[in-house]
């Protein structure tokens, strides 16, 4: 998952790019590839989703080649039609099927909010604006293949569309593992289907208008996985690009060096607009003392490694300091793709971090006497 600041003008709009995927049942490697990069030179955000023929490593190679080339070509301003030709004529040929093939959806967002989308054989993207669908006009172009023998027999048609992004827009795209999920099941004999996916997404956005791209991709992929009875019949990938107001998070940790600054700390805490975390027992006590709100430590669902979380009116999470923070750093560094179970305070903090775009740390610099060698305590 990546977060980018977009739209260079003064208005505050963030572009959140997120994806979630599961690979085909019993396949260790993904055959769908999702790549996203921000071009630091010109501020463009280029994102690609490619679905390689088959599944596993072979599909992964095809999809990686396609997605990487597509992103590089677009970043270097090579005309997309030409880029598509090169990609199609470069892909290696599958030994079993004798064809070379990988689909792609390519999204290019310029700093002035102009969005260009190029699609080849993936299910069409869904653009949601103000909780309803918007369908930009699409142009069709047929690409000629040089490798007629090894290419699929049907014509390669590229769909090109563009629109001006507005705050609140959600661009949702996915591999056919989503639309074809559940195929053969009594409930969806022909798969979940594009229209059902559309209604599902619209229903969630209607119920949770502020849902992040990250959470929405998870909902879509998990539903597709459920349709397949948790044994995915194909790689299932969903990518979402969400333009929205940035979500702010404040983390205060550690008491100020001078106790007379305690009130300043608490004032900054109270005045902050966004979610708030207090990390550290003494820090929590300072806020509690200054605001008169009591801290309640939750002694249920204890974790032997992480100190329990607490609750305080006005704070979204109150935790212990150093042990919890170290665990948070460890979870973030591991970059685990698995869903967090949110059992302990550290996992809850990571969840809040990942669901925020700007995180402000207010760090007190007082040294904790309790952590000093008692023989040399000052």
């Amino acid at each position: 998952m990546q977060f980018f600041k977009g739209f260079s003008s003064g208005n505050e709009t963030f572009i959140e790019v997120a994806h979630h995927q599961v690979s085909k049942y019993k396949q260790g490697a993904e055959g769908d590839i999702f790549l996203s990069q921000k071009n630091n030179k010109d501020g463009r955000i280029i994102t690609a989703l490619s679905d390689g023929l088959g599944s596993g490593i072979k599909a992964g190679v095809l999809a990686t080649l396609t997605a990487t080339m597509a992103i590089k070509f677009v970043a270097s301003d090579i005309p997309i039609k030409r880029a598509a030709e090169i990609i199609m004529n470069t892909l290696p040929v599958c030994k079993e099927r004798g064809i070379s093939y990988a689909t792609f959806t390519l999204v290019d967002i310029e700093p002035n909010a102009r969005v260009k989308v190029i699609e080849y054989d993936n299910p069409p993207y869904i653009l949601i604006r103000k909780q309803t669908f918007v369908e930009p006009i699409k142009e069709f172009t047929t690409i000629e293949r040089k490798n007629i023998k090894t290419g699929p027999k049907k014509e390669a048609i590229i769909h090109y569309s563009h629109y001006e992004a507005r705050p609140g827009d959600r661009l949702v795209f996915f591999s056919d593992g989503v639309t074809q999920s559940g195929m053969g099941s009594p409930h969806f004999p022909f798969g979940w289907g594009y229209n059902n996916v559309q209604s599902f997404i619209l229903d969630i956005v209607g119920r949770k208008p502020d849902i992040s791209a990250r959470d929405l991709t998870r909902e879509v992929v998990n539903q597709a996985l459920l349709n397949d009875a948790y044994k995915a019949k194909d790689d299932i990938t969903c990518g979402i690009i969400f333009s929205r107001e940035p979500r702010d998070l404040l983390v205060i940790t550690g008491p100020p060096l001078y106790p007379e600054r305690d009130a300043d700390l608490v004032r900054s805490f109270l005045n902050f607009e966004g979610k708030k975390i207090i990390s550290g027992g003494t820090t929590a006590n300072i806020v509690s003392r200054e605001t008169g709100k009591k801290v309640h430590v939750n002694l249920k669902n204890l974790d032997p490694k992480i100190p329990p979380e607490s609750e305080m009116e006005g704070a979204d999470l109150v935790t212990e300091g150093i042990i919890t923070m170290a665990a948070v750093a460890e979870i973030l560094e591991k970059n685990t793709k698995q869903d967090l179970s949110c059992r302990n305070a550290a996992e809850k903090m990571v969840e809040l971090f990942l669901n925020s775009d700007r995180i402000v740390f207010l760090v007190g610099t007082k040294i904790n006497d309790a952590h000093q060698d008692p023989q040399h305590a000052c």
Binding site: G281, T282, P308, I323, A377
Partner: protein
């Protein structure tokens, strides 16, 4: 029946010195003590006793305003038993 309030410090120093075990007090009350006291167990984000340089040692537990230092689960249960059997 006596009202007993146990406040367990959950701050860093106390946690690493063994408070995590004391937090399981509610599930660890021996049978002979069960039903003989009105026990209230709460966590405290920091009792701020560890910064005291009188060589007091974490973990700290407050039992009805009496501070127990270097506390253990068994130590807290013993203290509860003493209070219950004082009658």
């Amino acid at each position: 029946m006596k009202n007993i309030r146990v406040s367990i410090c959950t701050g860093t120093a106390c946690f690493v010195m063994g408070a995590s075990e004391i937090m399981m007090l509610e599930d660890s009350i021996p049978e002979d003590l069960q039903g003989r006291m009105n026990l209230e167990i709460e966590g405290v984000s920091c009792l701020e006793k560890c910064t005291n340089h009188n060589r007091q040692k974490a973990p700290f537990v407050l039992i009805n305003d009496n501070l127990l230092e270097n506390a253990t689960l068994a130590g807290v249960i013993d203290a509860l038993r003493t209070i219950v059997e004082e009658e």
